[in-house]
Each structure stands twice: as C-alpha cells, then as structure tokens.
Symmetry: C2
Subunit: 371 residues, 2 copies
Amino acid sequence: MSWTLTAADLPDLARGATLLGTGGGGDPYIGRMLVERVLGDRGITILDPDEIADDLFVIPTAQMGAPTVMIEKIPAGTEPTLALRTLEEHLGRTADATMPIECGGINSMIPLVVAAETGLPVVDADGMGRAFPELSMETFAVYGVHGSPLALAGERGERVIIDTGDDDRQMEWLARGITIRLGGVGHIAEYAMTGADVRRTAIPRTLSMALELGRAIRLARERKTSPFDAIAETLSTTLYSHLRELFVGKVSDVERRTTEGFAKGRAVISPLDPASGDTFELQFQNENLIALRNGACVAIVPDLICVVDEETAEPITTEGLRYGQRVRVLGISTPDMMRTPEALAAFGPGAFGLSEEFVPVEHVDRADVPA
Amino acid sequence: MSWTLTAADLPDLARGATLLGTGGGGDPYIGRMLVERVLGDRGITILDPDEIADDLFVIPTAQMGAPTVMIEKIPAGTEPTLALRTLEEHLGRTADATMPIECGGINSMIPLVVAAETGLPVVDADGMGRAFPELSMETFAVYGVHGSPLALAGERGERVIIDTGDDDRQMEWLARGITIRLGGVGHIAEYAMTGADVRRTAIPRTLSMALELGRAIRLARERKTSPFDAIAETLSTTLYSHLRELFVGKVSDVERRTTEGFAKGRAVISPLDPASGDTFELQFQNENLIALRNGACVAIVPDLICVVDEETAEPITTEGLRYGQRVRVLGISTPDMMRTPEALAAFGPGAFGLSEEFVPVEHVDRADVPA
C-alpha cells in the first residue's frame, strides 16, 4: 500500500537505514538534515512496488563516495536533483518517480531529498537491499536493468554523463574516478527503469522496512523492552527473516584507511570475559564484509553483519567504531534474490576478493558459538 | 584558400606536427596510419579559416593522454568519430566541420581520421598553435569559447559527457580522471563553436604550416641544402617568425616518469666540445617547457622549444630522446595572441608551476650564446 512519509518519520528511518548500512553506506543523519530542510511540514508519497503501473518511469538517485569523506563534506542538497534532471534531459524523458538504489545508509535519504525538491513520489524498493560499496552491485543489474547512462552531479554544478552500455563494472570504475576528482563525493541518477522492471529486479519494501526497524528499536527503548527482540520480530515479517547474534564484546582494535575512494579496514572485538579466549574480527570495505569468530567465518557478504550498541541496539558504522565500545554483532539473512549464483557473482564474497564461499548465516555451523 | 589533403601529404604533415609538438603531443606517425587506413585514395577538404561562413558549426576532435602510453596502446581509430557523434547527439546539432584543438603531435591527425571517416571538412586552425599537456590550455578558452560540454569515447565504446560550464580547468581535471581510468588514452570532441568563433579565438593556418614545415625539411634533404635554413624560411612567412638555435650537443641524461597521466621529466644535453664547460637542460611535462643554458633561461613556454637531429633536422620527441644522440635545440616564437596576459595565465610559465617570467625567445639576452 502506498503511504505518506513526513519529517517525523526521519529519525526512525535514519536509525533503521544505518542498521541496514551494515557499517557503511554513509551517514543517514546528514541526509536526514537535507530532507528536513526542504520538506518542511509536507509529506512524500511512497509507492508500493506491487501497485505501480508497468510503464511508470522511475529514475533512482543516490550519492556515491567514501563515507569517511561524506562526514566532512556535507552536500548542498541540490546535487541529486541536478543529477536526475541531467539524466532526464539526456534521455529526453521525465521521471514519474525516483527510488533508492541502496536502502542502507545515506542513500535511503537521497531519493527523499529529490522527492522533497521536485514533488516526485518514491518507490518503496531498492537494488542492494542493504549498502554495498560499488554502483554495479545491484539486483537491478543482476536481473537485466543496467546502470548506463548514469548522470553525475558535483557541488560546483559539474554534470557528467557516463554510458558504458551493459558493462556496469566499467560504469562504476569511471564514475568512481570522477567522484574522487570531485573531492570524494558525487551525486548520481542511474538505472532508469519502468514499473515492470522494478517488480522484476528490485528488492521490495526496503524503505518501509528500514523505517519499521528504526521505529521498533525506539519503541522498545521507550517501553523498556529488549530492542533485540523488537528487531527480530520486525524482520520476521519481511524477506530478511533470520537474525543471529554473532558476538558480544568490546572493540579493541580498529584499522581504517581511505584508499581508491573506499574506506577499507578491520576491527577486532574482544570478549567481555577475557578468560573466554574467544577472538572476533570484522573486515570491511565501506560495509562489513565478513565476521570471523575464532578464525572461522560466521557471517559473510551479502548477508548483513551489523554492529550495534550492546544495550540500546543503536547501530554503529565502521567510522563510528571506537576503542572500548561495548557492542553486539548481529547477522541477518538477505532475501533469496540476493543469494542466487548470478547475485553472488555480482556482490558475493568473490566480488570483494574474499576466498571464503558464501554460506547463509542461518546455515553456518554453530558448534563453536555459545547458545 | 581551401585545399585538398591526400595520403601523400601525411608523411610531411607528421614530420611538421612532430616539430610543433615541441617534444610532446603524441606520435603523429600512429595517427598517420589511422588516417591512411580510412582515407585510401580520397582527399580531405581543408577549409581556410578566413573563408568559412560565420555560422559554420565546428566540432574539434582530439586524443588525450600521456604520449608514453599512446605508443603502447594504438587506438582502433573509430573512437574520435564516436566522440564527435556523442557530442552532436548531446547538443542536438550536427557538425559542418571538425578542427584540431592542437596542431602539434598526434592531434594534427585525429581530425583527419574523423574527416576520412565522416566526409567532413577540416578547418585549418587550432587552439594551441603547438602542443600543450592540458585541455584547458587553449586560445579558444582564453578568448571566450569554453570546452564544455566535452564528449569522451573509449576503446570499448565507453561514452562520457562532461559539462563544467565555464570552468575549463575542472573539465580538464575530470576528463583526465576518465582518461586515466580508460588505461591512459581517451578520444574527445569539445570546444564546439561557430565559424565566427574560429576567426576570433583560433590560431589560423597551423595545419598547413605543419605540412609546409615537414615538406621544407624533406625537400632540403633531397636537395642537399640546409634543413635549418628551410625551417627558418618557412616560418618567416607565418605568425611564428623568429627562429633561434639554442644549443648543439649530445644527450647525456634523461629522466622521465609517467605520473598523474603525464610524462614529466628533464633532459641534459652536453656540448660537443666538453672543454667548453657549457651546460644545457630541458624540463618537460609531455612538451618541453623551459630551456636553461648555463643555468639561465633561453626559451620558455609558450614559445616552442624543439629538439631535432643535429644534421637532418628530424624532430625528436621527449620519449625519443636517447643517450648520445647529437641534437640541435631550436627556439621558435609563438603568435602574439598566445603571448597576451590572458594567454600567459592559461599556458605561460606559471601555469606549469615554473617561477620564471615569460620572455619572448627573440628578446632573451643573448650575451652568453655564441653567434
């Protein structure tokens, strides 16, 4: 069902989108400020993907860049709409709606900025079902809708159009080069598609899922009930039905570097009881890619690996990790359409240079994990 | 007067364009092969800039990249026309002619490749009057015609459009980023303008000058007369009227590195008579930027600094410099429109990070130079 999103929803959406950012995706709180500034007391129409017309013309919008840069370089807010208008002009066709390409992190908010500025509705779906570091890591592309032509806008009004045909990796490579030369952040419109394409290639209702997750965490805190139970209950009615606690501990080491336009690194989390002897390590490229417990993989991309505050369940991004933080690490299963062989080729472990095979988080052997 | 260029002219044009490349500009012999392959026994119409209609629509074409890469990566030949077509499509207007943006080096040839493929005529003018390493170093830009929108094509059919408004340096910066990510070479169409713009902003008859220089050198060799006298005589009837011999010697040291998409370095030339104690050094960024004799500047960009074979006057590019070569270094004055304060701001010494002031080669104090 279609519904109306207002400024009052944004704090919950930001919290849920940070969780789905799995450590990366950029800070949605910055995006939230951008939406609030333009939206005022109006509402944004959110369209259910099952209800849109087959020929609805949808142009998704997003920001690209290293999250570590986004924090220091707050966009003017007009760039994503400039990217959309640039692509419309190039295609000779105006959009009927926009949509996220990535429901995790700041890219949950960018289409809302566009909607608030233009009055366009937003389709409740995306192409990552979480956050990923590269523009080619999209169910859209996996199921036949390609990113080209892509329009990219910079903060000084720069406009770039990139067309690499069906080669979405080359599109990502060239757009990343432009983004680096724009200082680390670019705004994009790409993966233009019809309503029929949305139903065939997008992960449905991920924007509303992010909102519901953020709301469930807040309500549990207000009611002094477990926010972890609230997360599990919310997920149980979605395509992300399995939740597992992977580890509880204290952040004891974080290595992070911004390189080639990405934030790459690893974090070590030590057990609360040092005598247990357990070890736990996360590796990330913008987002958390793999969780190793006592050296064994207990969750791996594209499943979600989320670090949250041990008590409040507030999601923590990789750039928010600090020595001594007490955290809980959650593993969440992704929808089946993100786990097909074609999908894993685009954004499974091998796409990140990991040698481990994908094993669904709900199937990982749990012998070494306490109940 | 307009005239017809045929394949028989290409060897002379390549030689003259290499001289005007002032050490850089890419190898026109590769461009010559590309033209020959497409042209066959047909001719290309070369339009005199004084005779074209005010509303003739001209789209210049070129290759960008580090000359050291161009040698290893020969283009398919269809990319420059793809760049032109991409810009035509973007502008919604078809070109009546193409034109060089750079008469030195391979970019003397690229518009001929386009002409041979499309049947378009070529305007006998350019915006550098030599070779320069950056797309923003154009008399076009200095006198008010900007490079945006620029279309860029890659060897795998990639198409990119860059629009930075009046900011040609930002255009260069972004296009360079794409070129690097395409492996070091890109083909471009930019600085679209009218016939009236050509007369106002371009350096006239530089394509025919390159051809005449190459021809004069060849004929002098055939007639066993001095090719250096032939060069001087040819230049005397052009806007490049001053020729000075800066040094004669042997190449004794060359430092060269390809960095940030450019070939940068320096060459030391030792006197033929070591007892003279003279020193001579060239510094280059793709092209020769400054000539220092006994530590004093004797020629500096934008004047031409050309290294040629000591006997045959065959021009030698920076990548062609070899230990022990006997060479003659020539300084050639550039036209007045390349020496105005606005022009020097765009491509004078300061634009290359040199602290020396521009002094016209014909005015340099010659006390230390033997007659």
